[in-house]
């Protein structure tokens, strides 16, 4: 295992300490409780927006804490949902009296832990609404399964919903916008290499020199299927078409497109994928009017990428364009 770390068991704690040092102007990091909180929280009468999940997806979620996005994030152990205590501490820390939105990625562990936290918060008379993201088209959705995973759309949703919350909108409206963004967004990902969970010490899966995994999530789990390595053009088709179909995107529609790196793939390759994505969508007369290319929701050092599309409307665009100032996303101020 080749990593810039000290001891595997100290990875999350030390990274949090580093993050606290770099971004002291934006966030407070409580290393004991393992939560990252906006410096000016709680903001009176503003809905608190929190999210959380396993570590190893940096900059998500801690990198999105700040003006116009999240009020707090709860990082768990690497690839492990945080525990209810963290979520409860974060909920308390950001509750300005207008209630708190929990943004939960759809994984059994995350859902159950957030559920327990919400029960505990309710017992303290803090109003909590949870919205679950489930945008991964690689996964079959049905009543009888765990449902789709929450992946890329989570980042875009946090931005859009965070901007609405910043205006002082009530909890019900903020939660409703979150549900809408989730409904209009889909993602799919692929891996060229595995990643290595620090405490596990070896790659989660092995891939041949000419193989890739299609339909991966963000936890180093194997994908839906293994395939022969292909060109950027072919890979982008493989990821994009199921998204377009599932969203029933039609000619003339506009999307927010994210080409996301899994952590080990350089930017130059992500631009190539974006180029292919634009070509494919242009062929369907769908236009990308907002975009994001880079490492936004990662799986440690995994090489690969994911594509997320969100069908845009005027409201989404307005809140997407609104100022944001977090460690990982910043514009307009």
């Amino acid at each position: 295992m080749k990593k810039l770390i000290n001891k595997p068991e100290d990875v999350v704690r030390e990274a949090l300490a580093g993050m606290a040092a770099v971004h002291a102007d934006l966030i407070n990091v409580d290393i004991e409780q393992q939560i990252i909180v906006r410096r000016d929280a709680p903001i009176k009468n503003k809905v608190g927006v929190i999210s959380g999940g396993g570590s190893g997806h940096e900059p998500m979620h801690g990198g999105y804490v700040g003006y116009g996005m999240l009020d707090a994030a709860c990082p768990g152990a690497v690839f492990t949902s945080p525990v209810p205590d963290q979520m409860l501490a974060a909920t308390r820390a950001v509750n300005g009296g207008a209630g708190v939105l929990h943004i939960v990625k759809n994984y059994t562990g995350d859902v159950m832990n957030f559920e327990m936290a919400a029960e505990l918060a309710a017992a303290e008379d803090i109003e909590v609404v949870s919205v679950v993201t489930n945008d991964d088209v690689a996964v079959q959705d049905s009543l009888y399964t765990a449902g789709r995973r929450g992946v890329g759309v989570t980042v875009l949703l946090e931005k859009i919903v965070g901007a609405l919350a910043e205006t002082g909108a009530p909890l019900a409206q903020v939660a409703e916008l979150a549900r809408q963004v989730n409904n209009q967004g889909r993602s799919m990902g692929m891996a060229l290499t595995s990643c290595t969970v620090p405490a596990a010490g070896k790659p989660t899966f092995e891939l041949g020199e000419d193989e890739m995994e299609i339909g991966i999530g963000i936890h180093g789990e194997p994908g839906r299927r293994r395939a022969k390595l292909a060109t950027a053009a072919e890979i982008t088709e493989t990821l994009t078409n199921p998204i377009v179909d599932d969203l029933r995107l039609k000619a003339g529609e506009q999307v927010l497109a994210m080409v996301n790196g899994m952590g080990g793939t350089p930017l130059i390759e992500l631009y190539i994928v974006f180029n292919e994505l634009e070509r494919i969508l242009k062929g369907k007369s769908i236009s990308i009017t907002r975009s994001l290319v880079g490492n936004y929701i990662t799986s440690l050092e995994m090489a690969g990428c994911s594509i997320t599309l969100v069908r845009l409307n005027d409201e989404f665009v307005k809140y997407w364009d609104a100022p944001v100032h977090t460690p990982a996303l910043r514009w307009g101020r």
Partner: protein, 216 residues
Amino acid sequence: MPVTHEDILHWLQRSAQVLHENSAFLTELDSAIGDADHGINMDRGFTAVSTKIAGVSDADIGALLKTVGSTLVSTVGGASGPLYGTAFLRAGMATSGKQVLETPELIAMFDAALEGIKARGKAQAGEKTMLDAFIPAVDAAQQAAKDQLPVPQLLQSMAAAAEVGMNATIEMIATKGRASYLGERSVGHQDPGATSCWLILQALSDTVSPEIPHEE
């Protein structure tokens, strides 16, 4: 011969040790169909339990098990944290104030734990989860109680049933938990949660009847 407060303490310490020893193995199983953390999660949780119960060793069994549950909830995370946490919390509620557990109390405790896991995880038998070890184990316990077997034999038959159930997960297609994302590709791999469940039940049986060799 009922299960005593001291037995429960020994069981928990033994579970912590067994899970620690099997941490890499459980994580290996989770690598194949999950995210390579189940052994790490269980080890972290039961290490915390082991430390915690040193301080509450004079409480009653119910209080002790509730402490275990809340400690697991607060330290494990992932899917297994709320599931095992809820199981122990419910087990604690079912044994509130007890200093020893006779067969009826044991059955009540396991029933409560099972209901807790089902309520929390909304899964059923056959979905390739810890339930596929735990449900047959509780069934075996009920049968043993009906057959009026003594406690050590009851626990032994539970562990044996859990092991069979665990092995049966190999051929299952996962429809709950992280392994479900793999669909058909989950077939051929043993479920990590079913494995930790068996380890914990085996630890209980071994604690109460250490003299009986079990078929591993």
